[in-house]
């Protein structure tokens, strides 16, 4: 596996009340198709887990990830082969505290949620209420929040660990 790095600086455009310098790092990874990396968990995992996710979602020779460094966390964006975009939020301590996605296909949440997948799966499959319900998904537990919506060919969603959010990060920032 070889890596090339291109680094450039820019300024955040827009919404933040305070202008926050943002460092944009574009990493182009040339990955051998036959490479096998451990399928580390992403949510709760480290930078290496993001690369594992990227490999898992691409399955192709070349891929690109852009890494945006804001004040308190970095966002790693992966364009999956399916057209779905996945963003992974990495804390200053190097742990993934949130993932978000949008695009034509659901991402592999077993891969993206890692150790959180089982509790998510239990919650998402639990039949609740007295009537059949076909509606967007919202799981709001003390240790895990998952939201999935959209329509066929345009899925969107996010998952995060509330206790792991950096102090100045709001749930709305994850998308």
């Amino acid at each position: 596996m070889s890596q090339q790095r291109f680094i450039k600086s820019t300024l955040a455009a827009g919404a933040a009340p305070v202008f926050v310098p943002v460092l944009v790092v574009v990493v182009v990874l040339a990955l051998a198709a036959s490479s096998v990396l451990p399928a580390w968990a992403s949510l709760g995992g480290d930078t290496a887990s993001i690369q594992a996710d990227q490999l898992h979602m691409q399955g192709s020779l070349t891929s690109k990830a852009s890494i945006t460094t804001a004040q308190s966390y970095t966002v790693h964006e992966i364009q999956a082969a399916t057209g779905t975009v996945v963003r992974e939020y990495l804390s200053p301590e190097g742990k993934v505290f949130a993932v978000a996605w949008h695009g034509p296909r659901m991402p592999d949440l077993r891969q993206l949620l890692g150790g959180y997948f089982e509790s998510y799966q239990t919650a998402v499959q639990a039949r609740s209420g007295v009537r059949m319900a076909r509606k967007p998904i919202m799981i709001d537990q003390p240790g895990l929040v998952v939201q999935i919506g959209g329509h066929l060919r345009a899925f969107s969603g996010k998952a995060y660990v509330p206790d792991a959010l950096p102090s100045n990060v709001r749930a709305e920032d994850i998308q």
Binding site: S128, V130, A133, G149, G150, Q175
Partner: protein
């Protein structure tokens, strides 16, 4: 048991058709509902086969071994304008054995179809599909079964549960009559993990699936009336009704009974429209008869109280009193129109256990961006909603669009 259920349904349909023909039943609806005829199937919002499914419309669909008169009529099939293609529970197909589709290697083909809250899994088989007087010959459909073939982990990676039984689906099948014809794309690559070749029941591997082999909206294969559908349901009184009957009309502007009339066309090239509420535009909104409520925004943006997580209606809204809203829909074109609707307390609505047509049922769509409006089945009560298929020519232009 199954045969008895079908008989009851057919009797009900005949009675419904009679009532509609005689003046529209007891509803205060003002929208015209086409009588059942060759291009019109009866639909009903009645709780479905299990009697636990509010705000869902059901139809009867007949599937036949291709080219034969060996057929079975399946009732309780969910009418879903949010998906594409016919899917029927394996357990509901009791008297016909349809033709298994095979891939280029000669292996049986199975499909994993991921919805927004569940997935369906099972073999792709070919049937002649008959609804009302319309027929779609040699149509690939999905037969839902967790046991004929075993869903591989790439199919279950959404974490969703399967909806392949009556208990989990709440219906005997899904009739996807939405904005698209085929249910994947041209072609459907193996990387999508949607179609699988299955040399053995536990050995399914993703395959690329050409367009013509994909599960398809049967309407697109009809010999005529094949450019879309109209879902016609009467208005529902506040507080809900036990059931209402309506029509699923095939074709747009192809017969005297399916003209656009004064309906506004909302073009939807990406399968979505923009809903504006309280000055904010939500461009990823959509109309979907398969969602069983108005799902929009969250408690903070609507001022509506959420039903408790341990209540009888988690995820729905439970306001102290029925609350009215006005929003504006706009397609990709210039046309726009206001939508007025109301949200009542879902727990109160559900407490009337025999009421399944609930016009004021709603819930949360997301509690953080991206926010959106999911105009579910209550949106269809009291107004005829046209669904034009992608690429199909109609008097209102080329699909995909919604019109109402």
């Amino acid at each position: 048991m199954k045969a008895l259920r079908i008989c009851i349904s057919l009797t009900t349909c005949v009675v419904c058709a009679f009532l509609i023909a005689c003046g529209g039943g007891s509803s205060s609806s003002t929208n015209p509902i086409a009588p059942v005829t060759t291009n019109v199937a009866a639909i009903s919002v009645d709780g479905g086969p299990l009697g636990d499914y509010p705000d869902a419309a059901f139809a009867s669909v007949t599937v036949c071994v291709p080219g034969t008169s060996n057929c079975q009529t399946v009732d309780g099939v969910l009418v879903d304008t949010g998906s594409f293609g016919l899917r029927i529970l394996s357990s509901a197909l009791t008297t016909v054995s349809l033709t298994q589709q095979t891939d280029t290697s000669g292996n049986p083909v199975a499909e994993c179809f991921v919805f927004l809250d569940s997935y369906t899994w099972g073999p792709v088989q070919t049937a002649d599909v008959e609804i009302a007087g319309e027929k779609a010959s040699s149509t690939p459909i999905q037969v839902l079964s967790d046991t004929d073939f075993i869903a591989p982990s790439s199919c279950t990676s959404s974490g969703f549960g399967s909806a392949d039984t009556l208990e989990t689906l709440g219906a005997n099948g899904i009739l996807g009559v939405g904005l698209a014809a085929q249910d994947c794309g041209n072609p459907c690559p193996a990387s999508f993990d949607q179609y699988y070749g299955c040399p053995s029941s536990t050995g399914c591997q993703p395959i690329e699936q050409p367009l013509t082999q994909q599960v398809v909206n049967p309407v697109a294969l009809f010999a005529k009336d094949n450019n879309g559908v109209i879902v016609e349901l009467p208005a529902v009184s506040s507080g809900g009704e036990s059931s209402v009957s309506g029509s699923l009309v095939f074709g747009i502007g192809t017969q005297s009974n399916n003209g656009l009339g004064s309906a506004t066309v909302y073009t939807a090239p990406e399968g979505s429209l923009t809903t504006t509420y309280n000055g904010t535009a939500y461009p990823e909104s959509f109309i979907d008869s398969g969602s069983n409520g108005y799902f929009f925004l969250d408690s903070a943006l609507t001022g509506l109280t959420n039903c408790g997580n341990s209540s009888d209606a988690p995820g729905f809204y439970c306001p102290g009193s029925t609350t009215s809203f006005t929003a504006t829909n706009q397609g990709s074109g210039a046309a726009s129109g206001a939508v007025k609707f109301s949200i009542a307390n879902a727990e109160t609505l559900f407490a009337s256990q025999n009421n399944f047509a609930l016009g004021d049922l709603g819930g949360v769509s997301s509690n953080a961006p991206p926010y959106f409006f999911d105009w579910g089945l209550p949106f269809f009560f009291g107004q005829n909603v046209f669904v034009a298929i992608e690429g199909a020519s109609t008097p209102g232009g080329t699909g995909p669009y919604w019109a109402y």
